[in-house]
Subunit: 629 residues, 2 copies
């Protein structure tokens, strides 16, 4: 799964009055000592989250466009919004004529900096909320504006919030504690390991700002953001101090208090001091004021400008990936066991779904939306189900070619025996997170559909079965997924895989498989990524085959320089439709891989289907996992 | 071919007196207004050449180590030299006890900056010749030293030269003019195209500092540096001005004067003004003094600090690859024809060599050195031969596992029917540059040798036969070369390919095939790179299979988004020894590739061998190109 949001309301938002109000606040010295000539509204929240809560959808509020990526800039005269090719159509439908759509990636489209420089009067002030803009983005924007005689200024109060009368509350959902049976390691031990890393690098303090890192560190989960079991918080960890910044109401729950040992810490250095969410800035300032000349503070270079700049430059040690991000990516045995269990339950639900679709589609009563709903219903019957891990992509025929499609009433198509069906879906279970894509035909696929499906399958297998040395970065495997498509002149315009959290975000760093990322960290045993090549024939069909796979040691014949080798073990165990394959295009090795994969699906998921007494789905599984010749 | 220099003298150079003299100059206010506390001696010349002339071997002169990469730093108390893993042994043998060897890549080895900061007294001056250090290196070093309270200072006179009594003269070899029959495009047209790029990017001046770019621009060649047909020069090009800085004596040759139209320029804007080599700095300063406020000057970010800083920062526009570098990389039809011809002649020489070796080796009279000499002798009989393109790597058995080996009297081994022989060699012809590696056995290779050779061959074919979309960067193909080795737990620790010049440097940017480079430019039809995977079994044998290949359009079945596809055409046409292959490990597709490659070798090189009447070599070629089943 590769994005977050898609079309929801297709009539443009009327923004004239809103923009008038916003421009008033830009001139109002209550917010900044001088008038602001331009105001930047980025996409994200203060934690640079990929998915955001309704109260943080400020760019959507001001311009109407609700895609996952886009930056709005408002000047006295103009209002412009930059987004990428996935969203050109959607943005043009959702924004009224007060807005200029800036199509990123087109030659003629100016960058935000260039555009600002071209429209601003001399010596202008450009304002931005320093909590929403990441430190590295601030740096680049500030440099460009300064060199043109303008300046980028931090406006402490968010000006969108100032005009947003019915802005939703920041969510503060109940916290869920996770015991050792799910996490494998206590938060106390995670703190100790973090401190060991800090000692190794002579770091005095670490500031955690990413919500999934904080949830992982404390073995807590929330539901503040849809699909992501996280909660709004910051944490600052020193060698003898742990400070957690969170809505304090959430800590009245005795289970949470006990889990965090708030009332009776076992050791003084493992005692957690709690503070209101909003006080992180002043606390960090106070910590920094007391630093010795050689003290260093770790903060991610993607953290907010506000929090980054609270640390004086001499003490600041920015890092591309925090030690929590790296530790979280390598799953321990308990987490791996949980992820495997979650994937078995998920496979049970999908086998049931596909058996049901096979029966229902010929009646003509199944739509993209009802199929997605059925998938959710079946998943929700499984133990420890919490919710979906992202909005289900359920797409038929031409809709399948829209990579970031999400069915809406106005686009909803009926599933038939004549078109290819693509479903990319996943769930959060307490023991793990799933993300799987299958592409099926419930009638007779065309030769071209089969040919393309088979190239995609070859790419999927090439990655899944690859053996590679320890220390290899995921981006070096990306071309394996494309070789068969390239050979026929085909390709797909997205990466091949992303890291997957364990009952956490379905997208996580620092590893992945993509031609775009060179800043990824080497793959290590215990890391979990997706393997999802695809092919999209515009206006006709879409194909994607996605498994979640675990990095495991491999034992090839030789062991060059004792480096050791790695490979992948599929965690997803859902049959890949043989009917869609042109088996003549497969090598014997590839056929062997398919047969062995289906044997495992049948063995592992078959046993669970039997245990759960879901006999129709079991029959479907047995039929769909017959070996190919 | 992947490096330049290797062992030559294995007893250490005695440097006590030299260092005493150098330290005297460091304290001498004749050279810098204050005493210098440390002096940095980088590897390169003022043009950041990979291969350098004897007069520029300053690091070798001061410490004795003559490898291709290494930086020496001398303080009042210490002398240290940093080099990488290829050269640890050689450097330790060539340097006396005045020197500390700093082994780069080992955890415990400090960086040059950290070491300087640890040994220098407070507020020290660190000197360097600003012509020898590249602008980007200066920037990093200066930043690190400044933050620790020291300063990096540019010492105008080179302090090594000040103590180097018998320093060789800077070479000033005769210039060779190349006509349209070799270049396909006049220097005048190259200037016009350069100016078009400058206009497109609103650039007023371009400063050329790389020797191969200047040679290419003016369709001139020299012999100032071994193996590289270049000459010492700078060029500065404006919209109405061309300034060439070169030893003016070289321009007395009427052929050169005529070629450059020095006495009767066709158009005023194509009139070349000539200046002494040394006056580039003052001329560039004069040009910059006359710039308008918006004028921009292009210079490569790898150019010398001295020349870069001659351009005021507001006017400076540094670029990773110059327009000449990019234009030079895409060979035109005339150059491609020349490269093909050069490779046919080169193949003739190698077929003769291998036929000769096969006869002579059993007599026990052939050594690594005599085989290399024979290869040079045979190449020199071919038309338009100029010289070798790099020192021949001729290595038997365990020497083959030393990737950067070059045979020396003290390491020279005799070729036998019991060991694997690896020869990596190439030549400069007026019509093109070659670089080819073949690995052969003249007796019966072991099963393991054959197995490894076959994996390397599979990797070579996977790259050579790859089809990939227009716009693909070479680094995305690197893993194709390794997949078969990885599958068996093997690998090689070098890149897979480099750009190759046309009667120019055997290594050139901006394209290549390596896991290390992400700054490479996309592959384009007309670009020429090497394809050279290998396997090295320490203490036993080395294997490498290298062809030079041309990027050509491919016509696969489909054409996704009209992007077009590319593939490679081998220019090297020398048989790959079938005896070394375990054909059971090859797929049918791979066997087809080998047979088709050998068919072309026989057809194209066979015809030339026949024309030249070299019948023994022809018999060898015919036998070695029998199809495999």
């Amino acid at each position: 799964m590769a994005s977050q949001k898609s079309e929801s309301a297709m009539s443009p938002k009327i923004t004239g009055e809103l923009l008038r109000l916003l421009r008033q606040t830009m001139r109002n010295c209550k917010y900044f000592s001088e008038p602001i000539h331009a105001y930047i509204v980025p996409s994200g929240d203060a934690h640079q989250s990929e998915y955001i809560a309704p109260c943080d959808c400020r760019r959507e509020y001001i311009c109407g466009f609700n895609g996952s990526a886009g930056t709005a800039i408002i000047t006295e005269q103009h209002a412009a919004m930059w987004t990428d090719g996935r969203y050109f159509l959607q943005a043009s439908q959702q924004m009224d004529s007060n807005w200029t759509l800036m199509k990123m990636g087109l030659k003629e489209t100016p960058s935000q900096e260039d555009w600002l420089i071209s429209v601003l009067p001399e010596n202008s002030k450009v304002g931005v909320d320093p909590w929403i803009i990441a430190a590295d983005q601030w740096k680049n924007m500030s440099k460009a504006l300064t060199s043109a005689g303008h300046s980028l200024v931090a406006v402490p109060d968010n000006l969108i919030d100032a005009v947003w009368t019915d802005r939703p509350e920041r969510p503060s959902t109940q916290l869920r504690t996770l015991g050792l049976e799910y996490t494998g390691i206590s938060w106390q031990d995670k703190i100790t390991k973090l401190r060991a890393k800090m000692t190794e690098r002579k770091i005095s303090w670490f500031v955690a700002t990413a919500l999934d890192e904080i949830a992982w560190l404390f073995n807590l989960r929330g539901a503040d953001i849809n699909y992501n079991p996280v909660f709004f918080a910051y944490a600052i960890v020193g060698m003898n101090s742990i400070r957690l910044f969170v809505d304090l109401k959430r800590l009245s729950d005795p289970v949470v208090r006990d889990h965090l040992q708030l009332d009776s810490p076992s050791l003084p250095e493992l005692s957690i001091q709690t503070f209101p969410y909003e006080s992180v800035y002043t606390e960090l300032q106070a910590i920094c004021a007391a630093l010795g000349p050689r003290d260093k503070v770790w903060i991610c270079d993607k953290a907010s400008c506000a929090l980054t700049q609270a640390i004086p430059k001499v003490h600041r040690s920015p890092i591309p990936y925090t030690p929590l991000c790296l530790a979280k990516a390598v799953k321990n045995v308990t987490e791996i066991k949980g992820m495997k269990m979650a994937h078995i339950k998920d496979a049970v639900a999908l086998c049931e779904l596909f058996a049901w679709l096979e029966k229902e589609i010929p009646q003509g009563n199944v739509t993209e939306i009802s199929a997605a709903d059925k998938a959710e219903e079946l998943r929700s019957q499984q133990a420890d189900f919490v919710g979906l891990s992202f909005p289900t992509i359920s797409s038929v025929g031409p809709n399948g070619a829209i990579i970031h499609y999400r069915p809406l009433p106005e686009t909803n198509r009926t599933l038939t025996v004549n078109e290819v069906y693509l479903i990319d879906s996943g769930a959060q279970y307490i023991d793990g997170t799933t993300d799987v894509t299958r592409t099926m035909h419930f009638g007779t696929p065309s030769a071209f559909e089969k040919e393309c499906f088979t190239y995609v399958l070859k790419g999927h297998i090439a990655v899944s079965a690859a053996i590679f040395p320890n220390g290899t970065k995921g981006h070096l495997l990306d071309s394996f997924a494309r070789a068969a498509l390239w050979e026929s002149g085909l390709d797909y315009l997205h990466g091949t895989g992303h890291g997957v959290g364990c009952f956490l975000n379905v997208h996580e760093g620092p590893c992945g498989i993509s031609y775009k990322t060179f800043a990824d960290e080497p793959l290590e045993p215990g890391m979990i990524v997706s393997d999802e090549p695809g092919y999209y024939e515009d206006g006709s069909f879409g194909i994607r085959i996605e498994n979640v796979v675990l990095v495991v040691p491999a034992k090839p014949k030789y062991n060059y320089r004792n480096r050791g080798s790695l490979t992948f073990e599929p965690l997803t165990l859902v049959p890949i439709q043989v009917k869609m394959m042109n088996t003549e295009l497969l090598t014997q090795k590839e056929k062997d891989w398919v047969n062995e994969y289906h044997r495992r699906c049948r063995e592992v998921v078959g046993a669970e289907l039997e245990r759960q007494g879901r006999m129709e789905a079991l029959q479907w599984l047995i039929r769909e996992t017959q070996p190919i010749m």
